[in-house]
Symmetry: C2
Subunit: 296 residues, 2 copies
């Protein structure tokens, strides 16, 4: 069965900052949308443009050929997929369920197995690129799960992202996303410490950033978060609270696998401390820089 936009109903659950843009791209491409979200107000614009509201994940599942989810935390994913009124129990035979939340690799495996037992395909497909990538449909989408199912929804994913990469069996998309977050955890600490050092030593740090940006110390974090750190601009692009969640997932998975990742562990400790301060969890990840300024 083809999943051409004009003949395909797509359920969409989670119309937050990311999801709203992503669903909008699907809608613009001609897919009929069925929507559920905890807060209905956040779906209003999509509904005005013709998306149909559903009162539960079960209702979304019953009406859709493909369901896309992007919500906050693994417990939300678990509830939406595995509950009695969840997607797996209520999906049509042959449906494809795609979770784009950054979530637990093990949970992704459980969902895929439960779905397969009902003749349903569940993929894990978390993204990188943030709200800007979601808005501009330039996300990188990291996919795990059944390859044939993936190939069927690849054109749909391509409406939301630019790089669509299949990395292995169920959970592989989540593992890839966590590897991405582990790299960020090390890099952003390096950027914070380099700039904290430079400021304390009285260097012209803006000039320094420009000087070292293209060399061996260069990184996306240095280029994008460095200037914000120096300006004291801690407004969220990517929230501390979400980064802490991701690092916890990564650390748990690594510990179960018996690998030590001390720089990740250090980053998690520092970010958890930041998150525990007033307003800390609502900062952008560059807010870690604040922690280096406080010690005299």
């Amino acid at each position: 069965m083809s999943l051409a936009p004009a003949r395909t109903t797509v359920g969409f659950i989670g119309t937050g900052v990311m999801g709203r843009s992503m669903a909008g791209h699907l809608q613009a491409a001609g897919y009929a949308l069925r929507i559920y979200n905890r807060t209905r107000a956040k779906a209003e614009e999509l509904l005005r443009r013709g998306a149909v509201w559903c009162d539960s994940p079960a209702a979304v599942a019953a009406a859709s050929d493909v369901v896309v989810t992007i919500v906050g935390f693994p417990q939300d994913v678990s509830e939406i997929y595995l509950g009695e009124h969840g997607l797996v129990a209520n999906a049509r035979t042959g449906a494809i369920l795609i979770d784009m939340t950054t979530s637990s690799p093990d949970l992704a495996g459980q969902i895929a197995a439960a779905a397969a037992a009902r003749g349903v395909c569940a993929l894990d497909a978390p993204v990188t690129g943030g709200d800007k990538g979601a808005r501009e449909a330039t996300l990188t989408i990291l996919v795990g799960g059944d390859k044939a199912g993936f190939e069927r929804v690849r054109p749909l994913l391509a409406r939301m992202g630019r790089k669509i990469v299949h990395l292995g069996a169920a959970g592989a998309g989540q593992h890839a996303k966590l590897a991405n977050q582990i790299a960020i955890a090390g890099t952003i600490q390096g950027v914070c410490e380099a700039l904290a050092y430079a400021q304390r030593m009285g260097l012209d740090s803006v000039r320094l950033l420009d000087a070292i940006d293209s060399g061996a110390a260069g990184s996306w974090q240095l280029r994008n978060c460095g200037p914000k750190m120096l300006a004291g601009d801690f407004a969220p692009g990517f929230f501390v609270k979400h980064f802490v969640k991701d690092m916890r997932l990564a650390l748990e998975a690594s510990q179960r696998a018996g690998i030590e990742l001390p720089a990740l562990q250090l980053a998690l400790e520092r970010y958890a401390r930041l998150a525990a301060t007033s307003g800390g969890s609502e900062l952008g990840t560059q807010g870690l820089f604040r922690e280096y300024g406080e010690k005299a």
Copy 2:
């Protein structure tokens, strides 16, 4: 007095992998060279092309308008500059001494003060860009010290590098270079841990690298060292032993200034452990990846 190539004699001390290329660019530009190096054989090609050998730093100083040094460790710098037969005691009045070694910021300050007392200008001007940057004259040169002296030698420095940046008083070049190394220390740990995780989880890591390279996890280290880590290629671009030296300098300076840089400290501990293994100090910095593979 102008420092035009045809009228300027440049002393050059330290014709290792970096220094040889850098001196070659000055020679090609028309500067007359006076050379001293611990191992004369490493200067042979420059001597064949017309550079003149000197038997000591003092002899170099006595014959030169400008002296450039790039040697191994701070104790070498101290000996070459501050010894009885060193550069400062034997430099011509009005000479400019430029240390391009990555060395101690405090030592740079001492040298500049001792030089100034004799009517000599000493700049600290460490570089980034490695042997490739030295060969292609695309180094970034981070300069501290007297601004007027810097402006006089800027055309000479521009023969060896592309970005020539003055960052402040004596020592500022060294501080800037150490800030650069601090950023690398965090970043390379993140890259190692991300790839160690991905490999253990059975992902196609080469594909993962390509997928995440352009996003928020992207860095020079990921792009350049990541593939080498995965291929088990630990041949030195930048030596572990030199990185350990740089991180020690950075940690000492930060501790004296009362800033805590825990990710730097962690990197130094791990690299020091690697350097203590057989052959470890002669590996390239990407060799840290080996440490993550060993724990089961």
